[in-house]
Subunit: 357 residues, 4 copies
Amino acid sequence: MVRPTGSKLKVAVLAATGLVGQRYVSMLSNHPFFRVAEVTGQSSVGKKYGLATAGTNLPMGQDAKSLTVKPTSAYSLDNVDVVFSPLPTEVAMPLEPELVRAGFNIITDASPHRMDRDVPLMVPEVNPGHLELLDRQRKVREWNGLLVATPNCTAAGLAVVLKPLHDSLRLKRVIVSTLQAVSGAGYPGVPSLDILDNVIPYVKDEEEKVETEPLKILGEVGVDRIFPAKFEIGAMVHRVATTDGHLESLYVETEERFEPERVSKILAGFRGEPQKLKLPTAPAEPILVTNLEGRPQPKLDRYAGSVPGMSVVVGRIRKGLDSKSGRLTLLSHNTIRGAAGSTILTAELMYRKGLLG
Amino acid sequence: MVRPTGSKLKVAVLAATGLVGQRYVSMLSNHPFFRVAEVTGQSSVGKKYGLATAGTNLPMGQDAKSLTVKPTSAYSLDNVDVVFSPLPTEVAMPLEPELVRAGFNIITDASPHRMDRDVPLMVPEVNPGHLELLDRQRKVREWNGLLVATPNCTAAGLAVVLKPLHDSLRLKRVIVSTLQAVSGAGYPGVPSLDILDNVIPYVKDEEEKVETEPLKILGEVGVDRIFPAKFEIGAMVHRVATTDGHLESLYVETEERFEPERVSKILAGFRGEPQKLKLPTAPAEPILVTNLEGRPQPKLDRYAGSVPGMSVVVGRIRKGLDSKSGRLTLLSHNTIRGAAGSTILTAELMYRKGLLG
Amino acid sequence: MVRPTGSKLKVAVLAATGLVGQRYVSMLSNHPFFRVAEVTGQSSVGKKYGLATAGTNLPMGQDAKSLTVKPTSAYSLDNVDVVFSPLPTEVAMPLEPELVRAGFNIITDASPHRMDRDVPLMVPEVNPGHLELLDRQRKVREWNGLLVATPNCTAAGLAVVLKPLHDSLRLKRVIVSTLQAVSGAGYPGVPSLDILDNVIPYVKDEEEKVETEPLKILGEVGVDRIFPAKFEIGAMVHRVATTDGHLESLYVETEERFEPERVSKILAGFRGEPQKLKLPTAPAEPILVTNLEGRPQPKLDRYAGSVPGMSVVVGRIRKGLDSKSGRLTLLSHNTIRGAAGSTILTAELMYRKGLLG
Amino acid sequence: MVRPTGSKLKVAVLAATGLVGQRYVSMLSNHPFFRVAEVTGQSSVGKKYGLATAGTNLPMGQDAKSLTVKPTSAYSLDNVDVVFSPLPTEVAMPLEPELVRAGFNIITDASPHRMDRDVPLMVPEVNPGHLELLDRQRKVREWNGLLVATPNCTAAGLAVVLKPLHDSLRLKRVIVSTLQAVSGAGYPGVPSLDILDNVIPYVKDEEEKVETEPLKILGEVGVDRIFPAKFEIGAMVHRVATTDGHLESLYVETEERFEPERVSKILAGFRGEPQKLKLPTAPAEPILVTNLEGRPQPKLDRYAGSVPGMSVVVGRIRKGLDSKSGRLTLLSHNTIRGAAGSTILTAELMYRKGLLG
């Protein structure tokens, strides 16, 4: 694919009229590397994208608004450089491999292929090296395109925090209790009758994802697979009546002493390759540490940081029950850091590494 | 104090116009052992109780409604057999000892004296024997009355569940993450601006209470003190936008194997002395176990059981990360099982044991 | 149909696993006139009703729990004396006439046939005489069964209040602004993302219903139709983040002087035929008037009165902009007074009049 | 007062640590005409403003953060050009006249002096000419400073919409039903227990303000007073569980025919003097008209427009019960258009007219 220097890569956003799809299109307005060239949907096929999403209060670029919504299928997509796929599980499962075979480069938010042996599961600050798996993927699968995955919305923010913790203190066990926003279930998602004046201590399949995905993300890349990090995660998940922002409280057991002040500095000082490369969607600080009482909070902190929604905010860093355990609470925006934002950041990293286009 | 056989004990409810005070008066309507003889308050002193609480939707006995609200002080109380005290901490701290010295029998929801060496901290299903401490209390303190305490609203429900778990599996460590209702902070309590579309991962002084009180409650009574149970509790507390019902998710480490089906039976089969004595406020089942997906939930389960609000509902009993650990979620009504209901149940137990009146 | 004296009429509840369907079955537990003999559903056909509704916190009779859920069709129903139909509009439209032709007596909450010329639209306290239309219905339609309708959930409570107002002051114009609970949209109904921290100033087709149905209900019965009451209603509807209880604020213009104290007495004194007949589901007072500041409120007042959810609570009765106008706020439980409760009350009235069975 | 050309006016923000106070300081960051030179407060006197408001998620200028919070009194303020006063009523009543006598120019959000004969009650798009009253004020009162008022938060947005309606259709009567956000009551304001799963059909003193203030704002300026506009407003107010944004549904009776399409154009085309002068806080369009179903909505529309929170969004423009009546719903941000934003816009207008500094 030959492209004039300086021109932007063409992006297709699948399910672009959905909750996360709209985030993508909004975050890609005026993006320096990418431009939205295709949008797909279901009930609004044939409409202009601006009309199909007229009710949104997210800012949308004029170019994207004038695109016509296409059906979500391999046949309907033109030649694009990368495809962002926030498809529902049951649609993604068969369609994504088909698209990759057809030559598309896909970065997916969907869960079916996240734990596949040769699919990198990316949080760009944490495991940029996992993209090496793509060599293997290309060879073994004989795909024309490639498939990269973004983690579960709860796991993504968690992995950002676990990375510097594990590097410095060697994690043994993490017990995480989540309080997740309703937007995590998409739209229409959680019925209001289920959540007004209520909490649901369950999200289907979520605990398994939260317990396994971060271990892959923090794992070591081998020739043909990722060797998962060697600690354990136990999850207890809850849905609460917040619109955006997943809050997670962690109890961690570590090999090294957990000293809150030191941990605070380690987290605040964490930087990854996206920060070094100054990627457009990379927040200046992947982790913001707050000492304010009773923080982080979804309403106040979900858009904190230099790139709104991309920084994970951590507070209440305190001791555990012994010297080698500790506690903290983190907040991460589930449709940005937990979905569209992380995917775009991965795409930026891949672009810089010459893996797209 | 000589009382005609069959007559009811006279009760004073302090802070009776408050959120928990109203629960007391409502639960004591037509009580077989007790009748509300005195109510105290602050801003409505001099008004009829029915008028002072005209806005409530709790059913109130006609007798109580016609009482005049008195100020909260030793001087204003007549000769009553027992005093229920849901006073704010800073009022309870000096006033309660003063009242006990003046000869009143107090059962308090307030925190200042809960951990005092000779003050029984009661959950009647769990530690009825702790009332023995009162002998010592009477001797050492040279009080004319007595002081008994009810635990923190989060600790009360937790202790009910930990008791059969500890008895059968020997607990080593409990990590508990709470999602607490706003009524736990009283009225006016949590400002709506702080909790709409939000979660607060903090409640002042709560974690310390949740970590220590259950250990005293599950402890062994000695001559002059309670020897606390020998396991550890680590707490991570959160306030959420629910009106009533504290939800708590537990990760437990045990000496014995944690087998979910067996644990389920143990919890469901738990009975205490209040059940044997068929005390009026004792629920038939202190713990209700549910197998329904995503339960318990505050909105659906807070009034479950034979005495609404007195049963703790437990669900999601499942394995932990190894064979000697497990997880579960419990729900307990914070102003009933966590305050007024537990206190009344304690009073019923004391009445039956001849410790009142 | 011959029935042994004293035996109860057999009732079928359609869509019995839905939100309103569950209300019906719960309210019919231990009903003196009726017993639930059939329940229909969609996704849980073939299951026991108790299992299909295991998650509910409404009390359900043991008999009903052991029924098997049947599909909703004319073929699946046995010989029952009356059918309660809270079916969705699009299902009710074709099915209900079919069922009536097949000989069933249907009282429906569904909207399609409410404004049909010969279908009584019943609020038993307001228009018991409208049942006379059934003679005409039987003759003209040549139906074996009969069809009676219950009004829209907002219109039902409104009609209860407008009746005594119109009788005493002669209404000219009513401007009503509603704040409706999410349960009014059924389950799953309103997505939580649409209503958390939000208000929707629109409910599809609702304003038209609120503007026309009460006029029919307060109308005069003629030989072959109802002549609608001769005043006007203008509606502005809103969906808000409450679970149950529709609140409606009215500005009324009247022929007579609107004197708040007098209006208060008129409303509080209103009684209808159900009260005279002491029907089981008739509240002692159809309208409860409150003088408490800032009342009625959904959370506090939705279950007020002798039959929970059947009384309409009215407050803030005050003058309008001139002597012949006034304002007030009413609250009525949308799935009880606005649906299941009103329908059952209508059935009770019909039973007493010998129109069923 | 001589000021170097181009220098900014010095502003004092009273009660600057409060909910509205923080809005002021945030909106004045990098303001081209004004700089915050003084901030006052109550509990945080002596602290740096940045520290006193550390928990906010509003962006604050670095200069403001480094100011020291002073007590709210005439003695503590240095020589500033204008004072913004979002003080509570009971503090404002005595203090504001004292400050004006001491020579300060005050624009107040507080209610006590809004209806004073010689105090302009300003919505800059609506009644810029009312500032003429200040001549009279200065003469009669013999004040050194001046006092200008901003309307009630509900009345401000309402006045913006009523102005073009009245100019074009001559209003006779307006019935307005409000659904007001909790931030309208300040902080801590509405207890969460009062508003979760609830609606309160009452806000103290609000209806009187909504019924009188817009008439003054739309009135004609005379020599020594404002002659109020000659139509009537009837209000029915409600508090709902939204954080920000007051929604108001209007039923209007007019002298001219109410034709929805024409009204839509009139409202969308409305411009005032702030737009002509291109004042910094003037939105390009004071009224944004939406045709989207079920809009405006607080969550989606409160920050609409070119200056977030300053445009009033109007939707559901439709006919009333006759040709000379109509209905519509408006949404206006209660702490921006309804408080800080309107006041700053008034200050900008006064600055341009040479009335400040």
